[in-house]
């Protein structure tokens, strides 16, 4: 995990499922105007791991997920997913900005759940779940619907299959969004503050679904959250961010109970 001194550390406490680096950030810098959001960031995530990014707002956590989802591009550095460059490709031994085809190919492995759900309001729940499997993965309508039903059962919303998103509560919409992301069978699931827009009483239902997925599948999760108990439950590793850098990383037991860095202590003191 993370910068080299922590790497061996976490390999010790959390042996990787198969030890391979599924995600690798190499000296990634992201700026918005003159503001540096990510500052020469290096870290990697092994296949099957559940990693939570914590830190004060504005520290660059969400930017990492958005870079991985190719919703934005880094100014410097490279990102690899499954051994392939995400926004670059190798041509004649040189790294060049990737074309649309290459990006689409690598992006296939990545799914994302958004803070604002972003379900398609013009489609019923079922079609929200089948649209991409049919038109991107090339599944038949029957296969896609079968899979959609299984996923709706997983998130506990079978009876809402024929409703429009606007007929569902926020928590239900977010569970549909989780199912929609899983329908593409991604290797990596990005969770961007998925409970932040929910009423407090709806948060638990969504987190339960995610716990279930974390414990029963081998999907790799990268999670930005303010729900520290949830982070403790599902994470193999926690990365503490501040000012665009990882300042501390390790197993949740370690980070939450005995953080090394003063900044981490301050942050946890404020949110716990």
């Amino acid at each position: 995990m993370s910068s080299s001194e922590h790497n061996e550390n976490s390999e010790h406490t959390n042996p990787a499922v198969d030890g391979s680096e599924l995600i690798k950030f190499d000296n990634v810098t992201k700026r918005f105007g003159s503001k540096v959001v990510l500052d020469n960031l290096c870290f990697d995530v092994s296949s099957g791991k559940h990693v939570t990014l914590i830190g004060p707002s504005g520290s660059g956590k969400t930017t990492i997920l958005r870079l991985l989802m190719t919703l934005m591009k880094p100014e410097e550095g490279t990102i690899k997913v499954g051994g392939h460059y995400l926004t670059h490709e190798e041509k004649g031994g040189k790294l060049v900005p990737a074309g649309e085809k290459h990006i689409r190919e690598v992006r296939k492995n990545i799914g994302m759940v958004f803070q604002q759900f972003n379900l398609f309001p013009n489609m019923k729940v079922l079609r929200n779940l089948t649209e991409a499997p049919v038109h991107v993965l090339g599944l038949s309508k029957e296969e896609a619907e079968q899979r959609a039903r299984e996923l709706l059962e997983l998130v506990g919303l079978t009876e809402h299959i024929d409703k429009y998103p606007s007929q569902l509560s926020g928590g239900q919409q977010q569970r549909v969004a989780i199912a929609r992301a899983l329908a593409m069978r991604p290797q990596v699931l990005l969770l961007d503050e998925v409970t932040s827009a929910l009423d407090p009483e709806l948060v638990a239902g969504v987190l339960d679904v995610l716990r279930d997925i974390a414990h029963t599948t081998d999907i790799t999760m990268l999670c930005v959250t303010h729900e520290m108990n949830f982070a403790r439950d599902i994470s193999d590793d926690v990365l503490m961010f501040d000012a665009g850098r990882v300042i501390e990383s390790g197993a949740p037991e370690k980070i939450f109970s005995d953080p090394e860095h003063e900044r981490t202590r301050e942050f946890l003191g404020a949110v716990l």
Partner: protein, 217 residues
């Protein structure tokens, strides 16, 4: 002056032909402006300036010159290029093209009104660009702008008399011809005026109804 019902009666055969022509222009002109306007609006969102700049230029040019000039241009210049259309076809093309630059703005507002999260969700699902447009963005955008598009249909209706300058015999031109023959202008022109109201008013009521149903929802 005296109102002469027999003059109204005499005008009726011509009048119905005129109504038919006006409605033809309106229907075909609307179809062209709705279709072409959508093409403009999507082209203005293209990822390369080689598309967006020329399209923006064409749109500004057409939108900022009078329909009358465009009608004359089509009427006198197209035959020079060996393109032979009937006056009706020429009129329909000109008015459809003219209004497409307005509907393009309407569509653009509708497309801009779709939350950016919808584009992002489509990207996250790896949906192809075309699928993102036609399955996700446009159904949401167009729903919101149907009333605004309808208002341009009403506006177009009121511009149809301009087609008379190139010889399209729509309602008003028939009334003028009738008047010229009989020296009774008041009756035919009044009939046509009433006809405009009878077409336009229900249309605007329908638009307000659609607005309540589609937009505030």
């Amino acid at each position: 002056m005296e109102w002469d019902w027999s003059a109204v009666d005499d005008f009726m055969p011509e009048f119905w032909d005129g109504v038919l022509t006006t409605l033809q222009v309106l229907a075909l002109g609307s179809l062209i402006s709705f279709g072409l306007g959508l093409v403009w609006a999507m082209a203005l969102r293209a990822r390369t300036r080689f598309i967006t700049w020329p399209v923006a230029l064409i749109n500004e040019f057409i939108r900022n010159t009078p329909l009358l000039i465009q009608l004359f241009f089509f009427f006198f210049v197209l035959p020079e290029w060996d393109v032979q259309f009937s006056t009706l076809t020429t009129g329909v093309l000109a008015i459809g093209l003219h209004y497409s630059t307005y509907t393009a703005q309407v569509y653009r507002a509708g497309i801009d009104g779709v939350p950016v999260g919808q584009w992002e969700a489509a990207t996250a699902l790896n949906l192809p660009r075309g699928r993102t447009w036609f399955a996700v963005i446009l159904p949401q955008a167009i729903r919101r702008v149907i009333p605004a598009l309808g208002n341009y249909v009403i506006s177009m209706l009121k511009d149809t008399p301009m087609l008379a300058v190139i010889g399209v015999l729509e309602m008003l031109q028939r009334a003028r011809q009738q008047g010229a023959e009989t020296f009774q202008f008041v009756e035919p022109i009044t009939v046509v005026g009433v006809a405009f109201i009878l077409i336009a008013y229900p249309a605007s009521v329908l638009m307000r109804f659609l607005e309540r149903r589609l937009v505030q929802q």
